[in-house]
């Protein structure tokens, strides 16, 4: 067991070391790819926390992507607040909004929750596209972002990516994590043994909102231009679903592999104009047929080994 632990640590150290030293030896393009990887990993890990461990299949994660991005835009453009403070406030705005919408949408469960969260996102899209203060559908140029270097954005993205993995790992090993897994297996029975399902779910929902909001702020530092149709678009959740399902839902490693595959495929398929979406669809169908539990889920089943196990040994 000890030697396993050692190798595991060495491997993690190599990976983290490689990511941290990347701008020193890799091309700017590779830095961009891993920047996108970090951002997608953080957002997908949060979706995984909700869908894979809490049973909350949210189709509305773009709520927090839009709110995080718009907070950065509004605070830097209208009030000239510092970029990083604006991103942090964006995270706070997301938590606040998550608290507000939790009252109605937590009354729904399963597919109703999914639809409910989607409706909230669509409503926000319409709201923002009609809101004068948010420049309606005109969108914002987040010009303050020009002052931030690619490396700075990269390190913040990687920090969010690695941070999200550590966060979920620690969370699942905490009392809350045990409650979540008990709930996922049988919510009724878990409540019978004294677990407060509502509170546990809410905690995860708020954590996911905060992390997704902050990640989105960093995302829009890179994108510069934000518009309601893209910021609150369902395409974001489709991306996150793809990443988590391909990688392996309900596993910590799943979103890592999934995000890497997604970002690489997206870059590769960009060369194949007009059929890139079909190719992405074909890949996901094939992976789902061959590995119904996703890549990591299937590998774990075959090898009976979990690299980042939420179980305390």
């Amino acid at each position: 067991m000890k030697s396993h632990q050692g190798w595991r640590l060495v491997l993690i150290a190599i990976l983290v070391g490689a990511l941290l030293s990347l701008p020193l030896w890799a091309s700017r393009y590779v830095v961009l790819i891993f920047l996108l990887f970090g951002l997608h990993l953080a957002m997908a890990q949060m979706w995984n926390l909700l869908a894979g461990y809490t049973g909350l299949i949210s189709l509305g994660q773009q709520i927090f992507i839009g709110l995080g991005g718009y907070s950065l835009a509004v605070l830097t453009v209208y009030y000239q607040l510092p970029i990083w403070l604006s991103i942090l406030i964006g995270g706070g705005v997301c938590v606040l909004f998550a608290v507000i919408i939790s009252f109605p949408i937590f009354r729904m469960s399963g597919v109703y929750f999914a639809i409910g969260s989607w409706i909230v996102a669509e409503s926000l899209m319409i709201w923002f596209s009609n809101w004068d203060y948010a420049k309606k559908g005109m969108g914002f140029f987040i010009k303050a972002a020009y002052g931030v270097s690619l490396n700075q954005i990269y390190y913040s993205a990687i920090l969010m990516g690695i941070g999200s993995v550590v966060l979920v790992f620690l969370l699942l090993r905490s009392k809350l994590g045990l409650s979540l897994m008990a709930m996922r297996d049988d919510e009724g029975a878990s409540e019978g043994i004294g677990i407060n399902a509502y509170r546990s779910k809410l905690a995860c929902f708020l954590i996911a909102a905060f992390v997704t909001g902050i990640t989105s702020g960093i995302l829009y530092l890179n994108q510069v231009f934000i518009q309601p149709y893209n910021a609150f678009g369902i395409e974001w959740t489709v991306r996150l679903c793809f990443i988590v399902i391909i990688g392996g839902i309900g596993t910590i490693e799943g979103p890592i592999i999934g995000a890497l595959i997604f970002v690489l495929l997206q870059q590769f398929f960009a060369e194949y104009a007009s059929i890139s979406l079909i190719l992405l669809g074909v890949v996901s169908v094939l992976v789902m047929l061959a590995m119904p539990k996703g890549i990591i889920g299937t590998v774990q089943d075959k090898l009976a080994f979990e690299f980042l196990s939420p179980r305390r040994s």
Partner: protein, 433 residues
């Protein structure tokens, strides 16, 4: 140290020393590994190539596909002409270098346009970017060029929605202004038909739609027009009943707006179903292309007016080929059997500006390229281009009307040229229907 004597500092038996040891081993091996990686992964110096690389993010699919359709045909033809005698002279190479274009499909998605632009800049290391076709494409692409410091030639997106991204350093843009060009066309064209001067707005909730609505709401009342604004709507709206009822109630006789094709098709069909028939319908963006006009079905497009930024009748010539606008359109129709469309001229003009800039810059040094771009003063197939201190140049605009055609099912007649009498009229404006 003996493993057995090690005192675990955590529940899992990971000591601080062990963590530091493994982390440093990892980081070192990663750095060493980096030196043995393939070229595309490694940190690259300035790209040494035997050609000039141009980046193009084109909306080949999606809602803006009508704009993207003439690519890559028009792009390839223009590039072939530039390369006919070996390309453009570049001092650092000491010879002429051919131009190559790398084109990627944005799927009409502005997020994807920004991502692809970054990829073209960082991976393909393009020398210049060409950003075309509506603010949804030009805004994110030019923002990405500003971020990474790459010269960008923008065209085919109205000035007003693009300007807030400035002051620009790397992007130079050319198209018409809503307030200075589109507005005078409407104000000049509408009085030719007798109406009650009540204008109903129909606009999507996007930079184009809002930009147009804002300008017209501000300026029209001073000319004695009454504006009825039922509010903007998102893409994909299917039910226009409330808007149409409002226009009917307010006795709107001029319908004016800026919408995407699919939304206008739905809106216009419902207008007819509900018996709303304005005397004038001037719709920007939706009916620029013949397939969009045919999509309305039947005779529904008869008499709809739209902005014409370029046509075979424009009296301009290509600085690359000396071809007239008519020749370029005929060449396109001959090549693929399709009717001409307005973006053809602007796609071609982008390569004219590119060639002219590099002929003067004679280098691929980016700071020199933008200096040469700033000094641009030339005649292109879409008209004269000379950028001002805000980095834009206005191109001429006239008014057109769709009527049933002979050669093609629908033809765009030029019916108003008040601001540019050098562009000949080809028809007389008639009421809708």
């Amino acid at each position: 140290m003996n493993q057995g004597q090690e005192k675990p500092s955590t529940k899992n038996g990971i000591t601080r020393r062990r963590f530091i040891k493994t982390t440093s081993v990892g980081a070192t091996s990663a750095i060493i590994a980096g030196t043995g990686l393939p070229g595309w992964v490694r940190r690259a110096e300035a790209a040494k190539r035997d050609h000039i690389l141009i980046g193009r993010c084109n909306p080949s699919t999606g809602s803006l596909a009508g704009f993207g359709e003439p690519s890559p045909l028009i792009d390839d033809k223009a590039v072939a002409i530039i390369n006919k005698n070996g390309g453009l002279f570049i001092e650092e190479a000491g010879k002429k270098l051919p131009v190559k274009v790398k084109m990627l499909d944005t799927e009409s998605d502005s997020t994807k346009a920004a991502e692809l632009a970054a990829r073209l800049i960082l991976n393909d290391k393009i020398d210049i970017m060409i950003a075309l076709h509506t603010p949804n494409m030009v805004n994110p692409i030019s923002a990405t060029c500003e971020r990474y410091g790459v010269p960008c030639i923008g065209l085919d997106a109205p000035i007003e929605p693009w300007l807030p991204g400035g002051p620009y350093r790397w992007t130079y843009h050319a198209f018409w202004s809503v307030a200075q060009d589109f507005y005078p066309v409407c104000i000049g064209m509408w009085p030719q038909i007798k109406t009650n001067k009540t204008v109903g707005l129909v606009a999507n909730n996007d930079p184009d739609g809002i930009g147009f609505g804002k300008v017209f709401k501000e300026l029209l009342p001073a000319q004695g027009y009454k504006v009825v604004d039922p509010g903007t709507f998102p893409y994909g709206t299917r039910d226009f009943t409330s808007l149409i009822n409002m226009w009917k109630k307010e006795k709107v006789e001029i319908l004016f707006g800026n919408v995407i094709t699919s939304d206008f098709v739905n809106c216009w069909r419902q207008c007819r179903q509900m018996g709303f028939a304005p005397r004038i319908a001037t719709v920007a963006r939706a009916l620029l292309f013949p397939p969009a006009v045919e999509a309305l079905g039947g005779n529904l497009a008869q008499g709809i007016t739209t902005e014409v930024w370029w046509s075979p009748h424009h009296p301009f010539k290509s600085s690359l080929t000396d071809q007239s606008a008519r020749d370029l359109c005929d060449e396109y129709t001959k090549a693929i059997g399709k009717q001409w469309s307005q973006p053809i001229g602007f796609k071609h003009a982008a390569y004219e500006i590119l060639a002219d800039t590099l002929l003067r810059a004679k280098t691929l040094k980016k700071s020199h390229i933008i200096k040469a771009l700033a000094d641009t003063k030339m005649d292109t197939i879409v008209g004269p281009i000379e950028y001002n201190d805000k980095h834009y140049s206005r191109t001429p605009l006239v008014g057109g009307q769709w009527i049933k055609g002979r050669e093609f099912p629908w033809e765009l007649k030029l019916v108003y040229n008040g601001e540019h009498p050098d562009i000949p009229l080809t028809g007389e404006i008639k009421p809708v229907g």
